[in-house]
């Protein structure tokens, strides 16, 4: 992998936010209350947004805060409230002790297997020379806009259809059931 030198300040904050993401995600999966869990997930997303920015993906970082944490999670919370699932008491949400242990174990196994992906070095010949050092001209947005509206124009347009379908679907499903 890249053996680029990073300043200590950068490294510290990178690890800090990394740990925050990890810790808050762990909190997220262990909270009984849906509201608490959602809040910890939001925290995770913030931490990730910070990491995005540190990885030179400022636009994505902003989108993460605005769209994910700001919009999607709000909808989640909204539904939690709507369905009045706020109190943990009436939920037997978590699996039993053994289930959790086993799940933790399986999670570790999965991590172990996924970590294999770090074992072979990436082929540097694949790396675009332009992307290594030189910041793209036209700013951060332009570097994203170019592929999005050229190579991935189709994908972009498709997402609009996707959203349309999703909206319609959501409306159809969530409409009040008509009396029979």
């Amino acid at each position: 992998m890249s053996n680029q030198f990073y300043p200590l300040f950068y490294s510290f904050h990178f690890y800090l936010f990394g740990l925050m993401a990890l810790a808050s995600s762990l909190m997220f999966v262990t909270r009984k209350s849906p509201v608490a869990a959602a809040m910890w997930l939001v925290a995770t997303m913030f931490a990730l947004a910070a990491l995005y920015i540190m990885l030179d993906a400022q636009f994505v970082g902003v989108m993460q805060v605005l769209v994910y944490a700001g919009a999607i999670m709000v909808v989640f919370l909204f539904v939690v409230m709507l369905l009045n699932l706020g109190s943990p008491a009436d939920l037997n949400d978590m699996r039993g002790k053994w289930g959790r242990l086993l799940a933790g174990f399986v999670g570790l196994a999965l991590v172990a297997e996924l970590m294999a992906l770090t074992k072979s070095p990436l082929d540097l010949r694949l790396v675009l020379p332009a992307a290594t050092d030189v910041p793209p001209t036209g700013g951060v947005i332009a570097s994203i806009a170019a592929p999005m509206f050229k190579e991935y124009l189709l994908a972009f347009e498709l997402t609009s259809v996707l959203l349309l379908a999703a909206i319609m679907g959501a409306v159809v499903l969530a409409k009040k059931t008509d009396a029979r």
């Binding site: 699996r95 399986v106 196994a109 999965l110 297997e113 996924l114 294999a116 074992k119 072979s120």
Partner: protein
């Protein structure tokens, strides 16, 4: 039928013998006519739609009770059947006589072969439907048609009131057809056709009154036991074809010489063939069917189970004399088995009460004699005894038939349901049926071996030949199961004498109990006892004459009261070579020895009769109902040494039980079906059930399964870096 005489050059070709195919055809026609009539008479065709008709319970048809004698009215086709049935036989006999006359006019160096058509031509196997006429088959044809005619005629009277009258004659005609095929067939397979065919007819006729389970049982038993023998015959044919390459008599005669003399192959052929003979001719160990076969009508017993069919084995060995003469061990086996059977059956005959059973065991015993004859290479003697036995045993059976007929009529008249065949219910019948009495005594003396009746000559010739072969012949020089052949033959001779003694005893016993002493059939019945009608006594008389004079067919040199050795000369072209091969050069005994042998034989017969007359007290007998169960050895004899029971326990029951319990329920239903077929189906279903149990409806479970899949897959993929 296409007739393509292949031996057009044979001397017989231009004579009446070219119509030899008519011989079997005539009874076949009789069978077809009678069979059709039989079905026509009883046929009541069913409704067009049997499933719709259902069971109309008011169908009050229970009149077909086939117990003979219960129907006074004669069969509606009785006339035509009485004409056709015996008629075809008489015609056949006439033709046979004509052919016989023709044969006497020519030199018979080789048989006359008439190929009708190719039967089974496959590759190098050529089996033709060919008839072969030679002296041996001529003798048989004459006996079959001759005795057969008499028995047919007798049957007209005996079966007159039976509702199955046409069926009876159909079967009987069919039997004669097959029997003629047997003796006329020009190759082993064709002989086998007749062989099985007569077995089939025997089956049908034994079970003629099939509504009695015992009769049906007896028929079935006869067929199956015969089949065991046929198995042997079949294997013998396979061996012949594989080693000799032909199944024609001619071809075998030509090529059999190539087989090593006395070798395993020829011995095996002969032994397997003899296995066939033990079945058909009721020898140890397959004799058991014959006594049961007495369940059939008595004329059937006379024709099939005394005169003709059961002697087919003797015929077969005589026919295959060339082969047997090359297999001394096999020949000795034949003789030993024959002698053992003769004695064994005779002992059983001592204690039987059923008149027909006595005769049945007597037949078994006499057949044993014949096998002794052909076993020691005295083929002519064997055949001679066959012929004489046909006469006197047919007479005995018909005579007993006439007795049973009388008894039955008497019982029927008085509505008595006693056993009409049990000698304990008879006694003193001489008074009522004098003709029968006389003729039966003639036959008894003949079978006992009292000169000058027929049996004396034939039996003496056999015993004489045994004695002669015992010291100085091919047979005496080999060892049989480690015993020198000579010794074996002496034993055989001794056994033969012993059974001759017993024969005299049990025959006399039968005569005494039946005809002498006081009558035990009951007061009321005595009035109804009477001699049978002429149509039955007529054939008896003819047979009586034959029994008395049959000996003249083959007189020994010592008794030159007629043509010496006529039969021997007649059969010389067929069995001569084999006889000479076995007998060797030093075959003949001195005159004094022969005289001594004759003396011994006669003495033994006389002693036997005397013992019987002195020791047995007909007056002391009580009827069957009142008789106590016998004990001790008598009981063993009465139950025929429990051989049937033994077979049943040792072979039949285990086979059936194994088939049912192990093979069917165990292997088929249990192992293959249960475990493999249904088992695998069940296993699949059980697995399916398990799978559907895992499908719990819980998303969590599904996610778990999915994840396990993920981990498994990833572990497979991560091993490649």
């Amino acid at each position: 039928m296409m007739t393509v005489p292949t031996s057009g050059t044979h001397a017989l070709a231009s004579t009446v013998a070219q119509f030899v195919w008519l011989l079997p055809l005539l009874p076949l026609i009789g069978f077809l006519i009678n069979g059709t009539l039989s079905l026509l008479a009883v046929a009541k065709l069913g409704p067009d739609d049997p499933s719709a008709a259902g069971h109309d319970a008011h169908h009050d048809d229970h009149g077909h009770d086939h117990d003979h004698g219960h129907h006074a009215a004669r069969h509606k086709f009785a006339g035509i059947v009485s004409l056709v049935g015996p008629g075809v036989l008489l015609l056949a006999f006439a033709l046979a006589v004509a052919i016989f006359v023709a044969m006497r006019g020519v030199e018979m160096h080789e048989p006359y072969l008439l190929t009708l058509f190719q039967w089974m031509p496959v590759g190098d196997l050529h089996i033709d439907a060919a008839l072969q006429l030679d002296p041996l088959s001529m003798v048989m044809v004459l006996v079959i048609t001759g005795v057969g005619s008499l028995i047919h005629i007798f049957s007209v009277g005996y079966m007159q009131d039976d509702p199955g009258y046409p069926r009876y004659f159909a079967y009987l005609n069919l039997f004669v057809f097959f029997m003629l095929l047997l003796v006329l067939g020009g190759n082993y397979p064709l002989l086998f056709v007749g062989w099985e065919g007569v077995g089939l007819c025997s089956y049908l006729l034994i079970g003629f009154w099939f509504s009695e389970k015992a009769n049906a049982d007896a028929g079935k038993k006869a067929f199956i036991v015969n089949r065991i023998g046929d198995f042997g015959f079949l294997v013998a044919m396979f061996l012949l074809f594989a080693n000799v390459g032909s199944l024609d008599f001619a071809g075998v005669a030509e090529n059999a010489g190539k087989l090593p003399f006395g070798g395993v192959v020829i011995t095996a052929i002969c032994l397997f063939m003899f296995l066939g003979c033990t079945g058909k001719s009721a020898q140890i160990p397959l004799y058991i069917w014959l006594p049961d076969a007495m369940a059939g009508p008595t004329p059937v017993s006379a024709l099939i189970h005394a005169a003709t069919m059961v002697t087919a084995g003797v015929y077969l060995i005589a026919r295959s004399s060339l082969l047997f003469s090359m297999a001394p061990v096999a020949s000795l086996t034949v003789a030993v088995v024959g002698s053992l059977t003769a004695l064994f059956a005779a002992t059983i005959g001592l204690k039987q009460w059923d008149i027909k059973k006595v005769l049945a065991y007597s037949t078994v015993s006499q057949l044993g004699y014949m096998f002794i004859g052909v076993g020691v290479g005295a083929y002519t003697a064997g055949v001679f005894h066959l012929v004489t036995h046909a006469f006197f045993k047919a007479l005995l059976f018909l005579g007993s038939g006439s007795v049973i007929f009388a008894m039955h009529r008497a019982y029927h008249a008085t509505h008595n349901h006693d056993d009409a065949q049990d000698m304990r219910n008879m006694g003193g019948l001489r008074k009522y049926m004098p003709v029968t009495w006389t003729l039966m005594w003639i036959a008894t003396l003949a079978i006992a071996g009292i000169p000058p009746f027929a049996g004396f000559f034939s039996k003496d010739e056999i015993l004489g030949n045994v004695f002669a072969r015992a010291h100085g012949s091919m047979l005496s020089e080999v060892t049989w199961l480690g015993v020198p052949g000579g010794t074996v033959l002496f034993v055989v001779w001794g056994l033969g004498l012993a059974s001759a003694l017993l024969t005299a005893i049990y025959m006399t016993r039968m005569m005494l109990y039946t005809f002498h002493g006081p009558n035990r059939s009951g007061q009321a019945e005595q009035g109804h006892l009477a001699e049978a009608p002429w149509i039955m006594t007529g054939p008896l008389v003819v047979l009586g004459i034959a029994s008395a004079a049959g000996g003249w067919l083959n007189l020994p040199e010592l008794i030159p009261i007629g043509p010496i050795g006529a039969l021997e000369k007649w059969l010389e072209p067929v069995v001569g070579v084999a006889t000479k091969r076995i007998a060797g050069t030093e075959g003949h005994e001195s005159v004094s020895t022969e005289q001594m042998l004759i003396g011994i034989a006669v003495a033994i017969a006389v002693v036997g009769i005397t013992i019987a007359i002195t020791r047995l007290k007909p007056a002391a007998l009580v009827t069957k109902k009142e008789s106590p169960a016998s004990t001790g050895f008598a009981r063993v004899l009465e139950h025929k040494y429990f051989v049937d029971e033994g077979y049943d326990a040792a072979i039949i029951q285990p086979t059936v039980a194994t088939s049912r319990v192990v093979l069917w329920k165990g292997v088929d239903v249990g192992l293959i079906d249960g475990l493999m077929v249904n088992g695998s189906a069940l296993a699949a279903r059980a697995l399916g059930w398990l799978g559907s149990q895992l499908q719990s409806g819980q998303i969590g479970t599904y996610a778990w399964v999915l994840l396990i899949g993920v981990i498994a897959l990833l572990s497979a993929f991560t091993k490649y870096h």
